[in-house]
């Protein structure tokens, strides 16, 4: 048997990579992608827990996460497109309209 902690470790490492991507990339799309990566890493751990605890809840939660991720991706990308139309860049370090 594969121990539960292995899954969790894998999930943790992927999550950290996602965080790194989120914080470091310039391209907004890649940032979204990193976000998806983080979500997926969480999903893995959830499913693993679900499996080892013999409970369905973790998997149900994954459903919802996927749902929300889809919605988020759709909205996020739509915003991105809308933004790009006004201001043709998607590099986050060039987007500073909120600068104080």
């Amino acid at each position: 048997m594969v121990p539960l902690s292995w899954y969790i470790l894998l999930s943790a490492v992927m999550f950290s990579i996602g965080v790194f991507g989120f914080l470091s990339r310039r391209n907004l799309i890649l940032i979204f992608l990193s976000l998806e990566l983080m979500l997926n890493s969480v999903n893995i751990s959830l499913v693993a827990f679900s499996h080892y605890l013999q409970s369905m809840r973790g998997q149900i939660l994954v459903f919802f996460i996927i749902t929300v991720a889809a919605a988020e991706a759709a909205i996020g990308l739509a915003i991105l497109i809308a933004f790009y139309r006004n201001n043709p860049t998607i590099k986050v370090d060039e987007i500073n309209l909120m600068k104080g």
Partner: protein
């Protein structure tokens, strides 16, 4: 090491590597493609954990829908010159630092936790007898009916929102 463990080791190494590729590629299309492979591995891992339906969904929704959406957007924006420019922000060392520290912290947590919850009724055999889809369906439509309906609303909002936002002009 037993066979499952070997399998897992393969997945773990591959997924970590693919994740790294996703976040480091210069060309977004490449990133997305690596992501695609990653999702396939995740789906396989789900199978490994007796979650067939989720595996299917991972492929269909994530890879088939969401990633394609990403691809569409990338194509649409036609970011050719992106490839020639820097891929990381100035703060990327900090990003690495935080990522590493976070990983260390999380690993340390993993070492500390012990799952002492009582086991639920959905043992592998129980799931197998009904089939994964039916089991999930039963739970989803009974215990989680309300969140499910809410999720549908979220999707609706997302649909409407995406249409409104992406429309050329708001009148």
């Amino acid at each position: 090491m037993s066979t499952p463990q070997l399998f897992f080791a393969y997945f773990a190494v591959m997924m970590t590597g693919l994740s790294l590729m996703v976040v480091t590629r210069k060309n977004p299309v490449h990133s997305v493609l690596y992501m695609l492979i990653l999702f396939a591995h995740i789906a396989a891992l789900y199978l490994f954990l007796n979650a067939e339906f989720l595996a299917a969904i991972q492929i269909i929704i994530y890879a088939g829908a969401i990633l394609v959406l990403f691809l569409f957007v990338i194509m649409m924006l036609n970011l050719r010159k992106e490839e020639t420019e820097k891929r990381f922000q100035k703060q990327w060392p900090l990003g690495i630092g935080i990522g590493v520290v976070l990983a260390v912290f999380l690993i340390m947590i993993v070492g500390k936790i012990a799952v002492i919850a009582p086991l639920g009724p959905y043992s592998i055999d129980a799931v197998r007898s009904d089939g994964h889809i039916m089991t999930v369906g039963k739970v989803l439509y009974s215990e989680f009916l309300l969140p499910f309906e809410i999720a549908s609303l979220i999707l609706l909002v997302a649909v409407v929102g995406a249409v409104v936002l992406a429309k050329r002009k708001i009148e």
